[in-house]
Symmetry: C2
Subunit: 153 residues, 2 copies
């Protein structure tokens, strides 16, 4: 029984959001660039307001509404995923850059830590849903809430 590899968000972000937006003909404003850079640099899951704080370190004038508008755009383009993380911190949403490899989130009710875990099983499950239910999966979200290894000790 080995430690899981909880794939830090930062390591997994191969996608260059700014480049991807340009490729799709989307105007890349100063504000948007700041939001993209911040979300891409983040090493943990951020809610809109935390992200805003990071963005303002780059460009102090950016408004929270702009952060939300940019996130909405990225969601619609499928470049970021929105997470609930078991409502560990109220109704905030959290964001992460989309990855080709779907992964699941483990939320510890004791310490609030979020782990990520990637497994073939998740893909198999998705394939099963597609073939058995005739359902075309566009996006999936799997979250477990419970007690992490550290808190269990």
């Amino acid at each position: 029984m080995s430690e899981p590899s909880p794939l830090a968000p930062a390591l997994a972000q191969r996608l260059d959001l700014a480049q991807e937006m340009k490729r799709r003909g989307v105007r890349l404003t100063r504000q948007r660039a700041a939001v993209l850079a911040a979300i891409q640099q983040a090493t943990r899951h951020l809610d809109a307001e935390s992200l805003w704080r990071l963005v303002r370190a780059r460009d102090a004038t950016v408004n929270l509404a702009t952060v939300y508008r940019t996130l909405g755009m990225l969601k619609k383009m499928g470049l970021v995923d929105e997470l609930d993380l078991m409502h560990l911190e109220g109704e905030k949403h959290f964001y992460e850059v989309s990855r080709s490899q779907s992964h699941l989130h483990l939320a510890c009710f004791e310490c609030g830590k979020i782990e990520e875990y990637q497994t073939e099983q998740f893909l198999k499950l998705q394939a099963e849903v597609e073939s058995v239910c005739g359902f075309t999966v566009k996006t999936g979200r799997l979250e477990f809430g419970g007690v992490c290894r550290t808190c269990r000790k």
Copy 2:
């Protein structure tokens, strides 16, 4: 490729919530009884306000706050699960009576239908998380968003 068995919520509810609350020494008021009966009778996933409408058919004086307080209680006791259903209808939450068999939800972005699907794979995945990550799962939520069989045609 056969049709899935999307297990209607009503059919799967073997748990008697009122009895369960009494067993745990919780006071069973008239209002609570109305909420429990309504949620247990529902044949689809309800948000708080829809549930409230059903409750008022039984007891017109029950307040929405009481519905929320009762739901909060049931959640904490693990008797109902709270769902987001891919935010298909904004940020509402939806509720269902907990079942021993975990199942996943398929939300169609076209028609808004919610299907349920139960499979061994989900249990296996949970077992894998517990053994590989050392994470004790208390609750899990798996939702896929996409296009259902009917809309795909």
